[in-house]
Symmetry: C2
Subunit: 235 residues, 2 copies
Amino acid sequence: MSEIKIVQNVLRHNDEIAEMNRRRLRDAGVFCIDLIGSPGCGKTSLLEATLRRLHGRINIGIVAGDLATDRDALRIQACGAKVVQINTGKGCHLDANQVRHALDEIDLDGLDLLIIENVGNLICPVGFDLGQDAKVGMFSVCGGDDKAAKHPHLVRAADLLLLNKIDLMKYVRFHPVTFREDVERLNPDVDVIELSVTEPRIDRWLDWLLNKTLEVPARTDTEAPEHTPFIQGGI
Amino acid sequence: MSEIKIVQNVLRHNDEIAEMNRRRLRDAGVFCIDLIGSPGCGKTSLLEATLRRLHGRINIGIVAGDLATDRDALRIQACGAKVVQINTGKGCHLDANQVRHALDEIDLDGLDLLIIENVGNLICPVGFDLGQDAKVGMFSVCGGDDKAAKHPHLVRAADLLLLNKIDLMKYVRFHPVTFREDVERLNPDVDVIELSVTEPRIDRWLDWLLNKTLEVPARTDTEAPEHTPFIQGGI
């Protein structure tokens, strides 16, 4: 059997499990995000800020992927959220089977939203469907304005892009026009939300998240919660 | 044939070519570095600053790996260095065969030092020998103080670690003690050089580089150049 055929088999097997995950999440009325970004772009800090701001409005579960340590899980737990940590060892991305096992650890009927924080890597996670409803790609201004152009597969696959650490823009070399032109060329339909997770500049992200979560058909046993936008007057 | 066996075969094949690259570089008296860091930690900026500072002292060639674009190659070329760009497409790391072909494009006899800038990724490049003499791992304070602990394989494999963007330390959450304790636990023998490539704080790196390069037996046709340390009084 050739190498290419084995790679195809691995991906097909992954996609089948991803589809099972997707059905399971939809049946439970859970909107699911695969959050992909480089190491240190601020994924865990974004989750902390999101959990704090959405506390009491929707129920959020987190699956956190990392090669090693439970540091992200501990930070997220401190925000009061249910979190399952997946340590991949040398694995450079999460796969659908790992997520399937993580779902076994979570009471999905008690959730509205599940965010999967993928392993910090802008490349390998892009090719693996996990069963998510949306892929969110995350960059930081500290990484430079060329990172969209250098990661075309992520930009093309993303349903939303986040550009974090804009409060540090004045200290680093980052030309927003270059970044936005590259995104526009690769994926004209994708929205880019600029934010800073260390400041209260995440309202557009929270509104996107609530709108998407509340689009999912409400579970039969509860009423859909009402959404008062964070940005008044619409997004 | 099992998947594991195929992975083993791929790695063995890679290692054989890496050994050929290593012999070829040693025969030419070239010291070779594999520079591994996350996207945006400052690898290309470090090369620009290094090329400018070492101009006229040693001859440096660069192999630059990226998924897409020739932006790094253009930046490096502007510093007057010979550079070969490898675009990997969806490939998350360089392999020895790609480097072998890159070496064909370079006059090795005219070089003292070859720096291979790997694809921006803290995970996958670690497992692939390219034929280098030293692996240098690069982090940035903007990525957070937990990145050594989260990337134990890179820290253990590294002959030197660089911690970049220390001029931004005051604007981000980064506890140097946490970072250093994690490194110490994972690899007590590795040196960590803190630097900022946007300021002239790279003298320790330049001295490390010159010392290592000049350790390589001089080519038969030339005298080994003399090394006046950048940091007076020793490193």
